[in-house]
């Protein structure tokens, strides 16, 4: 249950898998993304509402052939340069995209968590998204005849999140902004959770939810594993790092040098922390 991140990725993340590394600004599982780059996984289908720096890194490192998403940017900074380069110039190789709205993606995760084949919403109407995204259809209400947008459930092979805390049995506690992390884990066939700390007992925390160990595959102790995202109660968002990423990621060579040095060139997240110095 509680294992190293290296083992968890080696055992549960395979080439060609569909992965959801979720996190809504808060609790983004950067360390897990780096370990996937280190272990050179390929042909991944990445799913996430808000792909940001860590997905930019996975895309630039050549791990990804498809991205399903609803907003791909560097919040408060601008573009995701590696994502743009892949879509605009097919570098390092072509990237297939499946594009939705936030509401649509949230509905898809919730349907996946609920064991339903699809979900529905009042969405997409009058936009150009349905013309380009085949996973947006319609369904008619059998009572009112209203037509609603229908989207298929998302059931990733592996759901990966970062959380504040686990107990020794592997029960995981999360608080603050919860995003779609619970749904991403419950919708996934396997799941990996990195945590800030492992404790004997989970103290009650206002606003906290608990994911019981029996719905999780692996729990890994990785302090700071969300950096430059944050874990409420443990760290704050490193906004300077997000700003700095823009320059690093704009240039292919600068990006490759950075990834080689700090991610591929480090043994684990602890070494990464030293090498980037936070």
């Amino acid at each position: 249950m509680i294992t190293s991140l290296r083992e968890a990725v080696a055992d549960h993340v395979h080439d060609g898998d569909t992965l959801a590394l979720e996190g809504f600004t808060h609790l983004i599982p950067h360390a897990a993304g780096h370990e996937i780059i280190r272990q050179q996984r390929r042909n991944l289908h990445l799913v996430r509402m808000t792909p940001d720096m860590v997905y930019d890194q996975l895309i630039g490192a050549g791990c990804v052939t498809k991205l399903t998403f609803s907003w791909g940017g560097n919040p408060g900074v601008g573009s995701l340069q590696r994502f743009r380069d892949a879509v605009e110039n097919q570098w390092p190789h072509p990237l297939e995209i499946e594009e939705h709205s936030h509401a649509g993606m949230a509905t898809r995760y919730a349907a996946g968590a609920a064991g339903l084949p699809f979900g529905m919403l009042r969405g997409y109407v009058g936009t150009d998204l349905p013309k380009h995204t085949s996973t947006i259809k319609t369904v008619e209400c059998p009572f009112t005849g209203e037509v609603l947008a229908a989207v298929p459930a998302i059931n990733p092979d592996v759901g990966i999140i970062h959380a504040q805390r686990a107990d020794r049995a592997g029960n995981v506690q999360i608080w603050g902004l919860l995003g779609v992390q619970k749904e991403a884990v419950l919708a996934s066939k396997r799941s990996i959770v990195t945590v800030e700390e492992v404790v004997d007992e989970l103290p009650a925390v206002p606003g906290a939810i608990v994911l019981p160990s029996w719905v999780l595959t692996a729990v890994c102790l990785v302090p700071g594993g969300a950096h430059p995202s944050f874990a409420m109660g443990f760290s704050v968002r490193d906004n300077a790092f997000y700003k700095a990423w823009d320059a690093i990621s704009k240039d292919r060579d600068a990006f490759t040098t950075w990834i080689d040095k700090h991610v591929i060139g480090t043994a684990d997240f602890a070494e990464y922390r030293e090498s980037v110095g936070f």
Partner: protein, 253 residues
């Protein structure tokens, strides 16, 4: 008179609308980060009836002491009346029609207030790949009314968007009704030059107010369609010392 930036001008004018709306019991704002969040937080400090800030990250009734730098800023969760999951904020709060005012912006806006934040050029081989839809399509569909805050230029204010990420009035009057949309759609477009509103007969955006010192020619030059003006075009009031002082101390916090 104090100098001010065009951002400050847009923020102050947006905040004035939010203050008036809150006084009319239209106080629930679904805000993103950036100018809308700043305008909403400014209005909370300027007006007796405060807008209720709701962030797509799941924060309801946030009262941040300083401006959040990201939509997931810890400050938002810590000062909220309630924090809910992302599926819930979109389903139980936005879709259910509990939001009075939504905010939108983008790379392109057309004369019917449709917005593009997806691609410049063709979708298959874009000249510029933009971040994408995020919450915009459903904000545009379900918010009681939408406020657009966007810098004006002929490149951005176009006859027709390369891609419709969120709908304003589609191809004109009646489209929202045909689509069965429950929200009221864009009611104000606040730019660095002017304020536009949809014409009640055609839903085409027309200029209802110019900012101080801005000429009609400047606005026409900064618009990519044959821009019309309302019969009566007002001039927005200069940002006051109080508005600017409150905004700057908010931004300095």
């Amino acid at each position: 008179m104090t100098e001010y930036t065009t951002d400050e001008l847009m923020i102050v004018n947006a905040a004035r609308h939010l203050g008036a709306l809150a006084a009319a019991d239209k106080s629930r704002c679904f805000v993103g980060i950036g100018l809308p969040s700043t305008a909403a937080n400014l209005a909370r400090r300027l007006y007796p009836i405060e807008p209720v800030l709701i962030y797509e990250s799941g924060c309801i009734g946030s009262k941040p002491a300083r401006l959040p730098l990201s939509i997931g800023d810890g400050e938002l969760a810590e000062t909220s009346d309630a924090v809910v999951s992302v599926p819930e904020i979109f389903a139980y709060w936005l879709q259910a029609g509990r939001i009075d005012i939504g905010f939108l912006s983008g790379a392109q806006l057309d004369k019917y207030a449709n917005i593009n934040s997806t691609v410049i050029g063709s979708y298959e081989s874009p000249k510029t790949r933009l971040p994408g839809a995020g919450g915009a399509p459903e904000i545009a569909a379900s918010a009681g009314a939408v406020m657009v805050i966007m810098r004006q230029s002929a490149r951005a204010f176009v006859e027709r968007c390369d891609f419709r990420t969120s709908i304003g009035f589609g191809d004109g009057k009646g489209d929202r009704e045909r689509f069965g949309l429950r929200g009221g759609g864009p009611k104000w477009v606040i730019t660095d030059l002017a304020v536009m509103e949809p014409d009640s007969a055609t839903c085409e955006l027309v200029v209802v107010a110019l900012h101080p010192g801005v000429t009609r020619e400047q606005v026409v030059a900064a618009t990519g369609w044959a821009l019309r003006f309302a019969d009566e075009v007002a001039t927005t009031a200069e940002p006051t010392e109080n508005e600017l002082g409150t905004l700057r101390s908010l931004q300095a916090a």
